[in-house]
C-alpha cells in the first residue's frame, strides 16, 4: 500500500502536464513499473486475495464475539500439513533457482517435488475435514468449525488455481521446452506458493489461538 502511494506521489506531484511538452528524447520511462506485466498482474491478484482473506479474518473476529463461540478442536494432522505446504514452497524456491541457472533437469525434479508436496497438503486438508467430521464436528456443529471448513476450502481452492498453472508449466517442461520458456511461470508459482503459505500461517494461528 505504501509502495503504491509512494509510486503515485512520484508520478503525480510536481508534474504540470498542461505546460510540459516533452519531446521524443524525453518521453522514455513513462512510469511503467520496471517489471513484466504478468508479475504486476500477479501482484494485483495477490492484493485482491489479501482483501478476501482479511475480510474473512475480520468476519471471524466479529462472529467470535457471539455468545455461542467455542474453541475449535484443531485436528493434529494440520501440523503435518503445515510442514507439507512449507516443503512445497521450498521445492518451488529450489526450482526457481534451477530455472535461473538454466538447469532443465533441476526444474523438472523441483516442479514434481513441489507438486507432490502440494497435493499431499490438499489431501491432508481433506483428511482433517474427515477427522473433524468423524469426531462429530461437521460444518453446522459450531461457528468455529464452520469457519474452519470455509477458510480451508477457500485457501485450498486458491492452491488448486496455482496447481493449474503448475500443471501447465510441468506439461511444457515434459514436452521438452527451453528453460527460458518456463522461467517466468516458475517465478510466478514460487511467489504464489510463498504467499499461500503465509496466508495459511495466519489462518492456522487464528484457528489455534481462538
Amino acid at each position: 500500500m505504501a509502495i503504491a502511494v509512494g509510486w503515485l506521489l512520484r508520478q503525480t506531484l510536481n508534474t504540470k502536464p498542461w505546460i510540459e511538452q516533452r519531446t521524443v528524447s524525453h518521453v522514455d520511462g513513462e512510469g511503467a513499473l520496471p517489471l513484466p506485466s504478468v508479475k504486476v498482474g500477479l501482484g494485483v491478484f495477490l492484493a485482491v486475495a489479501t482483501s478476501l482473506f482479511s475480510l474473512l479474518v475480520s468476519a471471524y473476529f466479529m462472529r467470535k464475539m457471539g455468545a455461542d463461540w467455542s474453541k475449535l478442536s484443531v485436528p493434529r494432522v494440520l501440523w503435518l500439513n503445515t510442514g507439507l505446504l512449507l516443503a512445497s514452497g521450498i521445492a518451488m524456491q529450489w526450482t526457481r533457482a534451477a530455472a535461473r541457472r538454466g538447469q532443465i533437469d533441476g526444474v523438472r525434479s523441483g516442479l514434481i517435488a513441489g507438486g507432490v508436496f502440494s497435493f499431499s497438503f490438499l489431501a491432508g486438508q481433506l483428511w482433517a475435514w474427515q477427522q473433524l467430521n468423524a469426531s462429530g464436528y461437521f460444518v453446522t456443529a459450531d461457528p468455529a468449525t464452520a469457519f474452519f471448513y470455509l477458510l480451508t476450502a477457500l485457501h485450498g481452492l486458491h492452491l488448486l488455481g496455482g496447481l493449474w498453472v503448475w500443471g501447465r508449466t510441468t506439461a511444457k517442461v515434459w514436452r521438452g521446452v527451453d528453460v527460458g520458456a518456463v522461467r517466468m511461470s516458475v517465478e510466478l508459482c514460487t511467489v504464489y506458493w510463498h504467499y499461500l503459505f503465509l496466508v495459511w500461517l495466519v489462518l492456522f494461528a487464528l484457528l489455534l489461538s481462538t
Binding site: T23, V48, L52, A59, V139
Partner: protein, 614 residues
C-alpha cells in the same frame, strides 16, 4: 497555456516499441464470438448489460404501476412486487452499471486511450466476459425456478432473506448468491486487465498525468472494485452456506411461525458490515467512471482544457480512498455506538469536499467555454445538475439525526436514484452518443438524440423530485401498498399516480434511443475519424472503427496532455496528444483538412508526414 514550445529537435521519428504478439482470429466465430479483441469484448459486455438492464427497466415500470394504481393489477401480488424490487435494484447496480462502465467502456476505451494494441491479458479478458454472461444467465434462471427470484431487497439482509416468509427463500437466494460469486470472479479477471493495462501498456510519452480523466476514473473504480468485491463474495458464500447447509454465520437463534429454527448465535449485523463494505465503494465504482467520462465530454464539447486537471486526479484518488471508511452510514438504524455513528457521519461529510471540487471544476471548465450543445454535451450538463441535486440530499442523509426519521422512506429512494442511478445513466447516454461514431463509424441521429435527452432529463426530474416530498411525509419504501394509512394524505396518492405516468413515459422514450442505435448503425451519417475534433488517442486511429491492433503499423507517441483545446496561437482549436510540438506540423495543419490529417497522418504514423510530402 502560453508556454507552447516550438522545438525543431522534437521532430524525431518514433523508435520502434516492442510489439506484443496479437491474437489473429480466422473465422467469424473467432472474431466476434470467442474474441480476444478488447473492442469486441466491450461490445459484448455492453449488449449483455443493456439487455439485462432493459429487463430491470420493465420491472421498475411494473413496480410503478403498482405504486401509482394499487389494487388495479391483479398480476402483481405482494410477493411478486418484492421480487421485482429486488431484481430491479440488483440488476441495475451490478449487472448493468458496473458491467457497462468497466466491462463495456473500460474494455473499449482503456487500450485506445493509453495507446495500446489490446489489453495485456486478452485471453483472461475473453474468459471474463463469458463468466459474466454465465452470471447473468444464472440470475435470469432464478425467474424460472420454484418460488421465483429472491424478494429480500437488493441488500439481501439476513435473516429475512432465507426465512420462509420471504419469496424466493429457497432457490432464489441461492441462485442470487451464486450468480454474484460468478460475477465477482469474472470481474476480477477483467479488472486485473484494466489495472495492469493502465500501469504497464501505456505508449511512449503517455505518463500517468497525461492520461485522459476517463482512464483515471475507470482505473480507480477498478481498483475499488477489486478490493471491495471480495466483501460481497465472502457474504454471498456465507449466506449460501447458511441457507443450504444450515451454518449460523449470519442467522441468529429465532422462532419463525412458531417453530424454533436450528440456527444459533449468528450475526445479521456482520452481514451488513460485509455487505456495505462492498456496497459503499460500489457507489463510487459506478460514479468514478462517470466522473472521468463527463470530464472528457465537457472539455471536448466546450473546446476548453479541463479546469484543474491535477486536482481532478487527486479528487478521484481521495474519493476512492475515503469510500472505504464511510460504509456504516448505511447502518445508522441498525443500532451502533453513537461515537461510531459520529465517526462515519464525519467521514461521509468529508467525502463531499473532493466531490464538490470536481463539480466546481466542471462548472469552471464550462465557464466562458465555446460550448457546443451537442447531444453528448446536453447529457453531460444534465449530469452535473442531477449530481448536484442528488449530492445535496446526501448531506442530509449523512447526518445521523436527520437520517433516522428518513431511513427506509421514499426520500432515500429519491436520493440514491438521483445520485447513483440517473446521474451515471446520463453519462452512459452521453458517452454512447460521444463514442458511438468511433465504435461504428456512423453518427447517431441528432434529432432523435435531443428528443431522447429532453424527455429523459425532464422525465427523471418529474419522477424523483416529488419522491423527496413523499419521503418527508413518511411514505415508506418497499411497501406493496400504503392505501388506508391515516398519515399518508390523498395528495400523496395523486402524486404517486403522477410519478408513475412520468416513469412510464421515460421508460417508453428509451425505445427511441434503441431505435436510434439500430437505425444509425445502418443509415447514420458517416462520422469520419474524429467528428468531435477531440485530442485523445482513440480519435487518432488510422481506421474508424479501429481494426484489431488499434493503431495500424506503428503505435502513436504522446507529446502532450489530453486537453490542448483552444490553445492560443495554434492553428486549430485542438491539438491531438500525438502531435509533436513543431512549427512544421502546425504549418501542415493549415493546408490540410483537420479530420483527414487526424485520420491518416498522425494516427497511422505516430508522427506527421514531413512537410511537402502530401
Amino acid at each position: 497555456m502560453t508556454s507552447v514550445t516550438h522545438d525543431e529537435s522534437a521532430y524525431v521519428p518514433a523508435a520502434e516499441v516492442e510489439e506484443p504478439e496479437l491474437y489473429h482470429p480466422k473465422t467469424f466465430i473467432g472474431k466476434y464470438i470467442w474474441s480476444q479483441d478488447a473492442k469486441v469484448i466491450a461490445v459484448q459486455y455492453a449488449i449483455t448489460a443493456i439487455g439485462i438492464g432493459l429487463v430491470a427497466l420493465v420491472l421498475s415500470g411494473i413496480m410503478r404501476l403498482q405504486l401509482g394504481f394499487p389494487h388495479v393489477f391483479s398480476f402483481i401480488t405482494p410477493n411478486n412486487y418484492l421480487q421485482f424490487v429486488t431484481m430491479h435494484g440488483m440488476i441495475m447496480v451490478i449487472y448493468l452499471l458496473t458491467a457497462l462502465f468497466l466491462g463495456g467502456f473500460g474494455n473499449y476505451l482503456i487500450p485506445l486511450m493509453v495507446g495500446a494494441r489490446d489489453m495485456v491479458f486478452p485471453y483472461v479478458n475473453m474468459v471474463s466476459y463469458w463468466v459474466y454472461l454465465f452470471a447473468v444467465l444464472l440470475l435470469v434462471a432464478s425467474f424460472f425456478v420454484p418460488g421465483g427470484p429472491t424478494g429480500a431487497g437488493w441488500t439481501l439482509y439476513p435473516p429475512q432473506a432465507i426465512l420462509d416468509g420471504t419469496p424466493g427463500h429457497n432457490w432464489g437466494i441461492i441462485l442470487m448468491c451464486v450468480s454474484l460469486a460468478f460475477f465477482i470472479i469474472g470481474f476480477t479477471m477483467g479488472g486485473l486487465n484494466y489495472v495492469v493495462t493502465v500501469l504497464q501498456a501505456r505508449t511512449r510519452g503517455m505518463t500517468m498525468m497525461r492520461l485522459p480523466l476517463t482512464v483515471w476514473g475507470i482505473f480507480m473504480a477498478t481498483v475499488l472494485a477489486l478490493l471491495a468485491f471480495p466483501a460481497l463474495f465472502v457474504s454471498a458464500i456465507m449466506m449460501t452456506l447458511d441457507q443450504a447447509l444450515g451454518t449460523s454465520f449470519f442467522m441468529p437463534a429465532l422462532v419463525s411461525k412458531g417453530q424454533h429454527l436450528a440456527y444459533n448465535g449468528g450475526s445479521p449485523v456482520l452481514f451488513q458490515h460485509l455487505f456495505w463494505f462492498f456496497g459503499h465503494p460500489e457507489v463510487y465504482i459506478v460514479a468514478l467512471p462517470a466522473f472521468g467520462m463527463v470530464s472528457d465530454l465537457i472539455a471536448t464539447h466546450a473546446r476548453k482544457n479541463i479546469f484543474g486537471y491535477r486536482m481532478m486526479v487527486w479528487a478521484i484518488l481521495a474519493i476512492g480512498g475515503l469510500s472505504f471508511i464511510v460504509w456504516a452510514h448505511h447502518m445508522y438504524v441498525s443500532g451502533m455506538n453513537p461515537y461510531f455513528g459520529f465517526f462515519f457521519a464525519t467521514t461521509t461529510l468529508i467525502i463531499a469536499i473532493p466531490t464538490a471540487l470536481k463539480v466546481y471544476n466542471w462548472v469552471l471548465t464550462l465557464w466562458r467555454g465555446n460550448i457546443h450543445l451537442t447531444v453528448p454535451m446536453l447529457f453531460a450538463i444534465g449530469f452535473v445538475f442531477t449530481f448536484i441535486n442528488g449530492g445535496l440530499t446526501g448531506l442530509f442523509l449523512g447526518n445521523v439525526p436527520v437520517d433516522l426519521p428518513l431511513s427506509d422512506t421514499m426520500f432515500v429512494v429519491a436520493h440514491f436514484h438521483m445520485v447513483m442511478a440517473v446521474s451515471p445513466i446520463l453519462v452512459v447516454f452521453g458517452a454512447i452518443y460521444h463514442w458511438y461514431p468511433k465504435i461504428t463509424g456512423r453518427m447517431l441521429n441528432d434529432t432523435l438524440g435531443k428528443f431522447h435527452f429532453w424527455f429523459t432529463f425532464l422525465g427523471t426530474y418529474a419522477i424523483y423530485y416529488p419522491m423527496h416530498y413523499l419521503g418527508i411525509l413518511g411514505v415508506p419504501r418497499r411497501y406493496y401498498a400504503v392505501t388506508g394509512t391515516d398519515f399518508i394524505p390523498q395528495s400523496a396518492h395523486s402524486l404517486n399516480e403522477g410519478i408513475t405516468i412520468a416513469a412510464l413515459i421515460v421508460g417508453a422514450v428509451q425505445i427511441v434511443f434503441l431505435y436510434n442505435l439500430v437505425w444509425s448503425y445502418f443509415k447514420g451519417k458517416p462520422a469520419g475519424g474524429n467528428p468531435w475534433r477531440a485530442t485523445t488517442l482513440e480519435w487518432q486511429t488510422p481506421e474508424t472503427p479501429p481494426k484489431h491492433g488499434n493503431f495500424g503499423a506503428t503505435l502513436p507517441v504522446v507529446y502532450r496532455w489530453a486537453y490542448d483545446y483552444s490553445v492560443p496561437g495554434a492553428a486549430e482549436d485542438f491539438i491531438p496528444q500525438n502531435q509533436p510540438p513543431s512549427k512544421k506540423a502546425k504549418g501542415l495543419e493549415q493546408t490540410l483538412d483537420a479530420g483527414e490529417l487526424g485520420a491518416q497522418t498522425r494516427g497511422a504514423m505516430g508522427t506527421p508526414k514531413p512537410l511537402g510530402s502530401s
